[in-house]
Subunit: 238 residues, 4 copies
């Protein structure tokens, strides 16, 4: 006995298209911004004005990070397969895994156990932005203004404080930690938090590929790496 397939996201008839129950052409196109439709997709309703400010703030934070392993991989992929821009964006997204996808879930683990293992604590500290991550300051201020500075945001601050003491150096909440805490306030599941970064970064990756089309760096990165590694290779057999 097979189970019925169900989906509540999209539906269409000959003259109407619905997204999450809203009439796409009458209620969404030209009336609602991209960020608000992203909220609708995840929460099954349009945001309040406060939620709209807060949610857009979160995803805007995540769009662009300059040259990272992810954007470089996308550019190298585009170099090899210019017929498939979508594959280059996908290659970029593939690197958005455990190393960069910290979450409030992980951040909630006992800090000391990480210290012993010299692990990086997800959501805390930043190699460049010290002592405070300016995005956190801004996001937490917005959370305060819009009514999202609840117990998750408070907890994240306590973890940072405890970690700073335990490690003996500044470990403030970084942008990832702030976003995880605020997403929890907005009742966005921690399991989908990585998806916020993925959807935002897809935008950034398209922009990187546009730049790569105009002024390519992939061939240069390739030839430098190949030349350097070739000059170094030595083997008993060669």
């Amino acid at each position: 006995m097979s189970r019925k397939l169900k989906s509540g996201l999209g539906k269409s008839t000959t003259d109407k298209i619905f997204v999450r129950g809203y009439d796409l052409t009458e209620e969404l196109i030209g009336k609602v911004s991209l960020g608000d439709v992203a909220f609708l997709e995840l929460k099954d309703r349009l945001p309040t004005p406060q939620e709209s400010v807060m949610f857009n703030a979160i995803v805007v934070t995540l769009v662009e990070h300059g040259l990272t392993p992810s954007t470089i991989a996308a550019r190298l992929t585009y170099f090899g397969a210019p017929e498939a821009l979508q594959a280059a964006v996908a290659a970029g997204l593939l690197g958005m895994g455990d190393r960069f996808g910290g979450s409030i879930e992980q951040a909630g683990q006992i800090v000391d156990s990480h210290k012993a293992a010299k692990h990086i604590i997800p959501g805390l500290g930043h190699p460049i932005h010290k002592p405070a991550d300016p995005r956190t300051t801004r996001l937490f201020a917005l959370a305060e203004e819009n009514g999202f500075a609840g117990r998750h945001v408070g907890l994240m601050g306590l973890i940072a404080q405890h970690a700073t003491e335990a490690y003996g150096r500044e470990l403030p909440v970084n942008a990832t930690g702030a976003i995880a805490a605020i997403a929890s306030e907005m009742e966005i599941s921690w399991r989908i938090c990585r998806g916020l970064a993925v959807m935002a970064r897809a935008i950034g990756l398209v922009a990187h590929l546009q730049e790569e089309m105009e002024e390519p760096m992939a061939p240069e990165i390739w030839s430098r790496a190949e030349d350097e590694a070739s000059s170094e290779m030595n083997s008993d057999r060669v």
Copy 2:
């Protein structure tokens, strides 16, 4: 002599982060919506109010299409690799290729040559939405209101008219065709048009995976396909 790597998208110092030259925390977070930052990433400036309406309208159109090969592939991938949500989104994006990524470029090709080869004309016609695609009606109305109903939009209409006559059936401009025409009006390169769909659909794919987490359909699709194909397989050797 190696070439210098350059990128104008992101930059950061210890206390400041810049995206396309804008101060991320002071000028963008909490002030600008996700759609407007997407515009900024591609065009290197923030949109005018009219451009903002139009650009958000375009990408909102592209976010959600219900169950498609792309969303089903994403769900099947998530089933096998739940540790890597980013890979499931990437798998979904990989299918957004030539079949679904029509552009004004392609649409501009001579209609009759397609007719002879029984090709689908990119940007024209829709299997369900007849005689008119309701999204096109809405997008072209917004283009009119916001000053983007220029010669590309006009040309697209002429192609549709010509195709309808040549084929002897209704071939109105569909949403892809409308978006391609309007993107051209906004001076967004046809080479990046597929990227608009990719960035928008990344949002939709995350929502599909959220639904899949809560109510999975991948195992059902798998077992049905496997059962059906197994029952059918016959070979001289078995």
Copy 3:
């Protein structure tokens, strides 16, 4: 002070190409089989005759599994992006994650803790092949013949025995478990074991796409899923 990039895998001059120190045209092409070059790539030397039999046996086991979420996702991706066969194979590989990539590492964890959580024990049991997985029987026989039935293979058997008792039902070593144990005997790191499946399945995925080119099933899977989910969708708003 930047670190030097190094790689020992490939090198070429104007008239010679080396792979792992071997002259590609003089020592490998026409002389060594694909499986043996895969061994060379991972182990930095060509296999002994016994290692060759055993290694080829392992990867041959992993090539083809019929219609799975992975092969279906590849076919759906090819449907959308026929210009990029490589992307369809990649989409198929993306699903070869935690659910299907059990390893001796995971198998070595205490069986009872899994029982309590009703987890599947990696490397043990099979939904169809009962009481014994025929591939395990064959692989362990080959391991015996070729001198690879050492302590890892013994340990895997003990775990299966213990699990069968703890759960009160047959939980024999499956093909994944057998491969993990034998790979350990061959000193192939558990961290690369998933890679054996990936390289083998890449072959299988290409074959599935060839079949899909000739007799497509993706459109059918799509339309069935969409029809079924659409007929079911109900929303308070629609």
Copy 4:
């Protein structure tokens, strides 16, 4: 009326597994090499001894190319998502597109039209290996020995000769061109030729990731690219 799904690749019962109609454990595991199973997957029969030599020669040629955009992208992806080795291999495959996937089909196009447009002719010439690609020499010698030096191989040679004259510089058949010609002799469809590279390179990519696990270069490539591009960025706004 829905169409029946069919697949002839894999099938299993409780005690038997079949691949292309062969009993996996009795006829393939321990008896047939990986390369021969790849042939079986594509051609629906095991190879003759001559076909086995020739097919293995082709795919062995394609396994390893050292540091390329594809292997670098795989390493960068692994850096970000070490939990999902399969995604790093997939990212590497994604770059194996039009730029690197020449085929006899493309090679068969009129040479002069390419000359006018200063295009690279697929299958001809090599930036390093001059005047002759040593792999071509070896592959064509094997084709001669094993009975695959038919009209496609002859045609490829003629195209090279014509191109060399038309361009006024050495444009010998490269490895891609040789493989495309021989694959045609073996009645492997040009549409699946890119797949030969994909399956072979999947092996190479796993080896690159194994090396990356032991001696990472991704962080170095990242930090160099980022430092260089940051130092260069200038914008009217910053």
